[in-house]
């Protein structure tokens, strides 16, 4: 079937299937899933400039479905999400400026690519180690899965910071935390998202759990809530530049809506540490795809 805006012929069932897979990942892990949807769309023949913008558009719709479902399940801390958006927006701009800085060196792709690999491998390895430790704690220490976090050092220190104004986040079970910590967490995840050119779910979800001490299920729902706004903003900016094929995004979203529902509902049947254990493999996949692209680029440049 022809999609005249992007000027490409793609099977709509294939697009809906991509959306379905990415929707499950998004609903279950609270990530945008651009690391899978992007390469798959490119594989289907969608031009690269349309891949990025269209992916953001479908991500917006999918996150609405998944976040709504998580909201019903009580997994969205709207207050936390809204506050983090402020820090994220500023951070994304700073990250984008950082990219411009590296562009002047002429090595932006290599620097950003390898930084992405290092950060993703770090996030993956850390989450894997922590979740395995938390699962062991459930069995050996007989503590509840909700309380089992294998690494609480940063959260404890963060909670000790008493820089006013202090706020409470009842939906996340946080009695008192400095507003600046939340803004800073949003800012850091925004810088990394803007610098690495990703949605930020990879970074934000672990940050919510390990830095702010938010329960895993709430971290997933809140992350999706934030993605609605960040991806929505990205959709507008890319669409104005002519990089979004809304028809492709709408078709992808039909599959993603189903997947997001399944993913979000499935979180009810898994404890936080188990979700984090599976989540830990996603950054490894993301890093592997970037390494493949970097090495591939290097190989093609050599010829």
């Amino acid at each position: 079937m022809e999609f005249p805006i992007a000027g490409v012929v793609v099977n709509p069932a294939f697009l809906a299937s991509i959306g379905f897979v990415v929707g499950i990942l998004g609903g279950f892990f609270g990530v945008g899933g651009g690391f899978i949807a992007g390469p798959m769309m490119f594989l289907a023949g969608v031009p690269m400039n349309f891949v990025v913008g269209t992916d953001l558009a479908h991500m917006t719709g999918k996150s609405i479905v998944a976040a709504r479902r998580h909201r019903v399940l009580g997994h969205v801390d709207v207050r936390l999400g809204a506050l983090m958006i402020i820090g994220t927006v500023v951070g994304v701009e700073c990250g984008a400026q950082l990219v411009e800085l590296f562009k002047r060196t002429g090595q932006a792709n290599q620097i950003i690519g390898w930084a992405y690999v290092v950060i993703m491998l770090g996030v993956g390895a850390f989450t894997l180690t922590e979740s395995l430790r938390a699962i062991r704690m459930i069995h050996t220490d007989k503590i509840s899965a909700a309380e089992a976090v294998g690494f609480t050092g940063i959260t404890r220190r963060v909670r000790l910071l008493r820089i006013k104004p202090m706020i409470s986040l009842p939906a996340s079970g946080i009695q008192s935390i400095s507003l600046w910590v939340i803004l800073l967490a949003g800012f850091i995840s925004g810088v990394l998202a803007g610098f690495l050119g990703v949605g930020g779910g990879f970074i934000r979800m672990p940050m919510l759990v390990y830095v702010l001490g938010v329960p895993t299920h709430v971290a997933i729902g809140t992350d999706l809530f934030e993605i609605i706004f960040s991806a929505g903003f990205g959709t507008i900016t890319h669409a104005i530049k002519g990089n979004v094929d809304i028809l492709i995004a709408l078709i992808m979203q039909t599959g993603a809506a189903i997947g997001a529902q399944i993913g979000a509902m499935s979180t009810r049947h898994f404890a936080g540490p188990r979700i984090r254990l599976w989540f830990s493999f996603l950054p490894f996949i993301g890093a592997a795809l970037v390494i493949w692209r970097l090495v591939g680029t290097g190989a093609s440049a050599a010829h």
Partner: protein, 85 residues
């Protein structure tokens, strides 16, 4: 042969299958309608005014997200099937 799964879990899986089937039918019909009716006007907007196209696109995405979620919930309620929650 009795199922190994507890009744609540069996019920959830049944709901999930019903929801999946409903979604499958609805989204197929919807996708056909989208491609048929929206293709030409969106293409025209893309050529003439990108700002309006961007806003219209976002509105469509948001509306579709809300529609798909709500329509299925409504149909499940009409069928007398408890929702997954």
């Amino acid at each position: 042969m009795p199922s190994d799964h507890p009744p609540a879990q069996r019920f959830s899986i049944r709901n999930l299958v019903i929801e999946l089937l409903l979604y499958g039918i609805l989204v197929t019909l919807y996708a056909l309608l989208v491609l048929r009716w929206l293709s030409t006007p969106l293409q025209a907007l893309f050529r003439e005014n990108l700002t309006v196209y961007a806003l219209a696109g976002l509105a469509l995405i948001v509306a579709q997200g809300v529609l798909l979620e709500r329509l299925t919930s409504f149909l499940l309620a009409r069928l007398g099937v408890q929702h997954f929650e």
